[in-house]
């Protein structure tokens, strides 16, 4: 039997201060980069045109364009503010013209693609450049998408809270939801650090991360619930540590198989899906991290802060009493 991390006895709860500092530092770096971009008057979040509205074109050239050639052609066509980016290969580029200011109000931007294409074909000839992908999104669509995605996430949190309150206890629910919110925040910090393009696919990735992290936390909490039912003289802290240790091989194994999938996507699935793959790769890491280091410590803190009433949940009450007794002895 090949085993990793079997029969471990790490004190995960003990290092909670360090983990809080690490997490906050990570989020602070992400926030710091937003501030730096704000000061430099650059876009803080790299929203895709699905959200900002605008025109996106993916171009393939017969010959890789030289230096600032492409920029010059676009400026000539009146798109000096367009963003130009190499896309995976030296002969492939994306051009992005976001809707801005008065243009956004009139929403006549859907002819941009045609104008840009005409200018490019004039310069490179009709064989020299092909438009592999073109997108235009009006301004209203983006706002709505952003709002809907946010509403969906918040409602799913509420539903999870209720389910866990029914199946476990509200304290478990709150701890799980906060741990999951932690993952959402660190993932967003990661996205700003990498300046990844936030498209609907990336939103879907964030949602997957939420699902994955919740899953991970619930499996540990399930073990906590089970261990609390056993008649052991053990403090709540020890129960939590034991439960995390017992489920550790599973946490790592599932992380490994999921990582295998995200790394494959990162390596082979190409540019279009790359931001999604990055977010997932980071997200399953932070999801595993939070269920091991954050959720347990948080639950312990909540149990202290809002202690249970007399007679409620015997297992937890006993564990808490045991905890106090041990402290007194110590």
């Amino acid at each position: 039997m090949l085993r990793i991390l079997h029969g471990t006895n790490y004190d995960f709860i003990k290092v909670w201060r360090l983990m809080v500092v690490l997490t906050l530092a990570f989020i602070a770096i992400g926030a710091g980069m937003v501030v730096v971009r704000l000061v430099g008057k650059r876009p803080t979040v790299n929203y895709s045109i699905e959200f900002t509205g605008g025109t996106l074109m993916q171009l393939k050239f017969a010959q890789p364009p030289q230096g600032d050639e492409l920029r010059a052609v676009l400026s000539g066509a009146g798109y000096s503010h367009a963003e130009i980016q190499e896309y995976g290969a030296p002969d492939e580029y994306t051009v992005r013209a976001r809707l801005e200011g008065p243009q956004a109000a009139t929403a006549q931007g859907d002819s941009s693609a045609k104008q840009i294409e005409r200018a490019l074909k004039a310069k490179y000839g009709s064989e020299g450049v092909t438009v592999r992908r073109g997108e235009f999104v009006g301004p209203r669509v983006g706002d709505e998408l952003r709002r809907n995605a946010l509403i969906a996430i918040l409602i799913s949190f509420a539903v999870t809270l209720v389910y866990l309150a029914v199946r476990f206890e509200w304290r478990f629910g709150v701890a799980a939801v906060i741990a999951t919110a932690h993952d959402t925040i660190t993932t967003i910090a990661f996205i700003t650090m990498m300046h990844l393009e936030v498209s609907l696919t990336v939103v879907a990735a964030i949602l997957t991360v939420i699902g994955y992290s919740l899953n991970d936390t619930i499996i540990i909490f399930d073990r906590v619930r089970e261990n609390l039912r056993k008649q052991r003289r053990e403090s709540l802290r020890d129960v939590l540590n034991r439960s995390i240790n017992e489920t550790l091989p599973r946490s790592i194994m599932t992380h490994a198989t999921t990582l295998a999938a995200t790394v494959s996507l990162l390596a082979f699935a190409g540019e279009v899906i790359r931001p999604f793959s990055w977010v997932m790769t980071f997200g399953i890491f932070t999801g595993t991290f939070s269920s091991i280091y954050v959720a347990g410590a948080l639950l312990l803190w909540i149990e202290y802060r809002w202690p249970r009433a007399e007679g409620e949940s015997k297992g937890t009450a006993r564990a808490l009493a045991e905890e106090r007794r041990q402290k007194d002895v110590g």
């Binding site: 039997m1 599973r250 990582l259």
Partner: protein, 555 residues
């Protein structure tokens, strides 16, 4: 034993249903064609169609355009527009188009393999509101021009440079032609001005910002504007005060044609009676054609009611000019009505080609859009990119699969192999559920699926770890397996139910891709529960059956 046989039968049945759901088959579809006749056609129905990003094509989102007028009941308007758009697309000859209402105020149109996006957009978006109007012969514009000039001056609409522009004396078409002939601009200009009718004189006399730009055309109600001045004139005419000052019984409409006189091009502007003598709603047929004299034309036919009305109206207007107005544009130059017209008529397309005539005929036949639509979103993906994405998706999936198999088999040995075998069923079930929901395979969908394979083994990992714990406690192989499955259950149920709940919320409140993602997630969870719990359990039972008295488990 019989329990085991039932389980194996169950797996077989599930697989058969799943395989059936994924098999392409022919379906007979009854559909009303563009001409209104019900027809039966056999369609090849392929489950899990490739999305546009994989097969190439065009995606359009249309919404009600309220820039000109507000629409009270958008949902109802969209319903009616949907019918028209569908009729038009069906006449367009694209295989498996998708035309759907989304939410209350949007239509999405998907045209697989569509390459000419401008043309597609036009066919979908053109409102095709056809009207026949009589050109003004009362000199309404001339009468109101001084007032319009005054308004423009008062509201400072004219740019500062306008005053420094040498006031060109407005002349009739004859004057212009003469100028071109003689080449003596200055003298003929004055001569032309003098020779002109009182109407033309009044145009020039006011000398205002607008009247300087407008010249008399060749028929009553027709005016010429120099092409470079068109945007400025448009701006003048769209001003609210100017619009209010214009007589309500008359309307101003641009023509599609332009003429070149003396090296300059001029756009036509028409003053028309606001009341239409006929509209496109009585139209029963429209066909493109070419005529040696007029170039490409669209011939149309009206129904009996429309024909009667048309005859009486045109009878009243013999010798008047009738403008054919499509979506607010006067098509060609208005012909003179020589005698009453009844059911047949034609629209001259000017210099446009036959394809344009075909498209016009198509949109006229399909009927007008009840509300103007505007493009809210366009995506078009070239076929080469689609193939590229498929290749990449397949490569990534294969690598992921190999890695997962290696991890599972190395770590869990034979049991891992069982779990991996169950993954085949997992993949089959997930795809079948997606096909059942009519899902479309997109690149993010493939990525999600690859990812779900990694997550799908989770339930097995949970169970196997439990079995190991039970074995550690010295239980026999048989009880360890039983207990392992039993103890792992609450965790599996709770974690998956909460994920399903999350997914259900996303499905309910999400839009487009988020919704698609939710379906994939739910399908994946259900399939993974069936494969990890039911199928792997059955495998273990078969294994134990074969090797009675098994002392060690390869796990």
């Amino acid at each position: 034993m019989s329990n085991l046989r039932n389980r194996l039968l169950g797996i077989l049945l599930l697989s058969a249903v799943a395989a059936w759901a994924l098999f392409p088959r022919n379906r007979t579809v009854r559909q009303r064609g563009a001409d209104g006749v019900l027809r039966e056609s056999v369609e090849r129905h392929v489950p899990l169609r490739l999305g546009l990003d994989l097969q190439g094509g065009m995606h359009l989102t249309l919404e009600v355009d309220e820039s000109k007028q507000t629409v009270a009941d958008k949902s109802e308007a969209i319903d009616r527009a949907l019918k028209t758009v569908r009729n038009r697309i069906e006449g367009f000859g694209v295989s498996e188009p998708v035309i759907q209402k989304v939410g209350t105020d949007r239509i999405i149109v998907e045209l697989p393999g569509m390459a000419d996006q401008e043309r597609a957009r036009q066919v979908v978006q053109d409102q095709a509101f056809l009207e026949f109007k009589i050109t003004d012969k009362t000199g309404a514009l001339e009468r109101v021009l001084p007032r319009l000039d005054a308004i423009i001056k008062e509201r400072k609409l004219a740019p500062a440079t306008a005053s420094t522009v040498t006031p060109s004396v407005s002349r009739g078409l004859e004057g212009l032609l003469k100028a071109a002939d003689t080449g003596k601009q200055d003298t003929s200009k004055k001569a032309g001005a003098k020779k002109d009718t009182t109407r033309a004189d009044s145009l020039a006399a006011s000398g205002g910002a607008l009247s300087n730009l407008i010249q008399q055309g060749g028929m009553p109600g027709e005016y010429l504007i120099e092409s470079s001045m068109v945007p400025r004139v448009t701006a003048f005419l769209e001003d609210s005060a100017v619009r209010a000052a214009f007589p309500p019984a008359k309307s101003l409409q641009w023509g599609t044609d332009s003429t070149a006189i003396a090296g300059k091009t001029y756009r036509m502007l028409y003053v028309l009676d606001s009341r239409a003598i006929m509209t496109g709603e009585y139209l029963t047929d429209a066909r493109p054609n070419t005529s040696p004299l007029e170039g490409t034309i669209v011939q149309f036919e009206l129904n009996n009611v429309g024909g009667r009305r048309f005859r009486s109206e045109t009878g009243k207007h013999v010798n008047d000019y009738m403008a054919i107005v499509l979506d607010g544009r006067v098509m060609g130059r208005p012909p003179v009505i020589q005698s009453a017209i009844s059911t047949n008529g034609q629209i001259t397309m000017g210099g446009k080609d036959l394809a344009a005539a075909q498209d016009l005929a198509l949109v006229l036949r399909a009927g007008a859009l009840p509300v103007p639509l505007r493009v809210a979103e366009v995506r078009n993906i070239g076929p080469s990119l689609g193939q590229d994405s498929i290749d990449k998706g397949v490569r990534a999936s294969l690598l992921a699969l190999v890695l997962i198999v290696v991890v599972m088999v190395v770590y869990y040995k034979l049991s891992g192999l069982l779990a991996v075998t169950a993954l085949t069923f997992y993949a089959l079930f997930t795809l079948a559920i997606l096909a059942f929901f009519g899902a479309v395979l997109t690149l993010p969908g493939i990525a999600g699926f690859v990812l779900s394979i990694g997550i799908a083994v989770d339930a097995n990992v949970l169970i196997f770890e439990r079995i190991r714990e039970e074995l550690d406690r010295g239980k026999t192989v048989r009880t360890a397996i039983d207990e392992g499955f039993r103890h792992a259950m609450p965790a599996i149920i709770d974690s998956n139910v909460s994920t399903i709940l999350t997914a259900a919320v996303l499905y309910q409140y999400g839009t487009g891709p988020v919704k698609g993602f939710a379906v994939t997630l739910i399908a994946g969870i259900v399939a993974s529960l069936v494969s990890a719990i039911f199928i792997v359990r059955t495998f273990f039972m078969v294994w134990l059956q074969r090797k009675r008295g098994l002392e060690t488990l390869s796990i």
